[in-house]
């Protein structure tokens, strides 16, 4: 691969998000030393079960963490702006302009009591923009995200639109100030399958045309191959494995990733009906103090060392993986 001269648009190093329920108890890490480096136009997917900390990670990267949660990082840099020790105002300055977010349920994410136009113009007018310019830009944005009849839609309320149209409005809102990074938290989970594909195509197009980097949070591995360049697999607040999506899907290095891939419904139509393999056991109780690898208790390959010593993250080819077994010949591991 040719070295990319472009600097990354997002650098996150050692991000931890803690839940403090009681001052007398030690804080619970919901996200544990998360690292991510994103280049312009890159499409990432953060994959994990519910409760794996992927949404909290997304909100932490946006600086949208409220008590009783708190977050800290060794380094957070968004589009060249260092936010490692930033206060609330510095974060707000960056949100919407350099980094933006779309949420899972576009109906609740939009305000039910204001028109689409009102909300678009409000967001656009964050910058010093006249009302007329904001309106023109709103119409332009609506066309960009593929909304037909934008003039008419301006006067509509969210409940008058279909789910797919609402998500397009939410994307238009997120793009209002041309952010370099877009975080999409399960943007298609609440939508029909056909609409899902349209929204994913729209996002891919935006990342190609505008060079917007996209970080998609999802639990649906099925949508990844056509969408993401890179993938990070989270489990119990930790990144288990990260790397190019083709490599990870073809030769997953972490036993958890392998189990996750096995547990997805078969794609081969000819395959006889078989019982879907499940991952035995349940995710660890985050309230318990942790030791070793968080997946050790459910891992079929676990060695005694796994529940005692936390594995380091090592590189295997393009993949970075946190497993004691990493790098062993896969025949032996399986």
């Amino acid at each position: 691969m040719v070295s990319d001269p472009e600097p990354p648009v997002l650098v996150v190093q050692g991000l931890s998000t803690l839940l403090t329920m009681d001052r007398s108890l030690p804080p619970v890490p919901l996200v544990d030393r998360f690292d991510l480096t994103v280049k312009p136009g890159e499409r990432w997917a953060i994959v994990g079960e519910s409760g794996s900390g992927k949404s909290i990670t997304a909100r932490s990267i946006m600086g949208l963490i409220d008590p009783p949660l708190s977050f800290s990082a060794d380094r957070i840099e968004v589009d060249g702006v260092d936010l490692t020790h930033a206060g609330r105002d510095a974060w707000r300055e960056v949100r919407g302009t350099r980094i933006a977010m779309i949420l899972q349920d576009p109906l609740t994410a939009l305000s039910p009591v204001f028109t689409i136009g009102n909300q678009l113009v409000e967001t656009i007018r964050r910058g010093a923009v006249t009302a007329l310019d904001a309106r023109i830009r709103a119409l332009e944005l609506m066309r960009d995200v593929g909304l037909s009849e934008p003039e008419r839609r301006m006067a509509a309320y969210p409940h008058q639109l279909s789910g797919g149209m609402r998500q397009r409005v939410a994307i238009a809102l997120a793009l209002a100030s041309r952010p370099r990074v877009l975080i999409a938290d399960e943007p298609t989970t609440a939508l029909d399958v056909t609409v899902q594909a349209q929204i994913l195509r729209l996002l891919v197009g935006l990342s190609q045309d505008l060079r917007t980097a996209i970080i998609m949070i999802t639990h649906d591995i099925g949508i990844l191959p056509g969408f993401a360049d890179r993938i990070a697999v989270m489990y119990a607040g930790r990144v288990m494995e990260a790397g190019p999506v083709s490599d990870v899907l073809r030769a997953p290095q972490h036993p958890y990733t392998r189990a996750l891939l096995r547990a997805r419904p078969g794609r081969e139509p000819a395959a006889p009906r078989r019982r879907l393999p499940i991952i035995g056991g349940a995710p660890p109780d985050l309230l318990q103090p942790r030791r070793g690898c968080p997946f050790a208790a459910r891992c079929t390959l676990a060695l005694p060392v796994c529940s005692d010593v936390e594995p380091l993250t090592v590189a295997v080819g393009q993949i970075r993986v946190a497993c004691h077994l990493a790098g062993l010949p896969s025949e032996e591991v399986r």
């Binding site: 919407g96 994410a109 009591v113 409940h159």
Partner: protein, 309 residues
Amino acid sequence: MSLPVMLRRLAGRAAFILLTLWFVVTLTFILTFAVPTDPARAIAGPKATAVQLEKARAALGLDEPVPVQYARYLANVLRFDLGRSHSQRRPVAEIVLERLPYTALLALSAITVQLVLGGVLGLWSAVRAGGLMDRSVFLLSLVAVSLPQFWVGLLFLYLFGFKLGWLPLGGAALPEGLVLPALTLGLAGAAWTARIVRSTASEALASNTVLGLRGRGIAPRRIVLKHVVRLSAGPVLSVLALDFGLLLGGAVLVESVFGWPGIGKTAYQALQQNDVPLLMGTVVVGSIFVLLINALLDVARFALDPRIR
């Protein structure tokens, strides 16, 4: 909102208002039989002879069968003839209409106190949840709801009227005479409103909508003053509509304490002087007022929330 939808809603409301009015009017009619006073005796005076009493009774139509009395009463109410007050020797409708603007002004001022004071304190509590203001408002609202209104009124009179001499001790002087009655009447409502706004605004602040706004970098002040206020307005208006009858009930005491010449004070006087027609008149007109305000608030709620259109 499209006009036909609006009109249909208004028509439905109007039918409901008429039905409720009929109920109120019928109830007041029945209650006159339950009151242990004889209107004929009240008019003829305590020294009247049996013949004079009989004459007064016939003049009032009280010697006729009850259904006939009821029918005539309904017909009279429809023509807004509410009978004659024997304590003031004037038509009841005239007295009540003269007093209504005072009560309307007082009620409007009290609602303003309720919404502004309760709204500001409730929003503040929600935004700074768990803070000193939040805890103070919680405690003070409990106190404000628990205090009897006539006592609050007397306390205000003593403090601001007598001790400090800032405001008049009573009467209908405008605007200074309105301040204390409006505060007294609006205080308990303000406490309730603060509680409701606190909870609806907290809910709104934790909503996806606000998360989305914050994610777009909208200024916190704008989020609270535009979006959270608008999202919380519906429930507040509903409660306001429900409580307006209570507010007007409170006006009877408050107007009497402050000598405010509205319908409430008139009702209290009518009660003291056994003036049943006047009392009935205040009840009927007060009910009409409550129903109209309710209809108005309903339309406002309807206009504020596009989802229920």
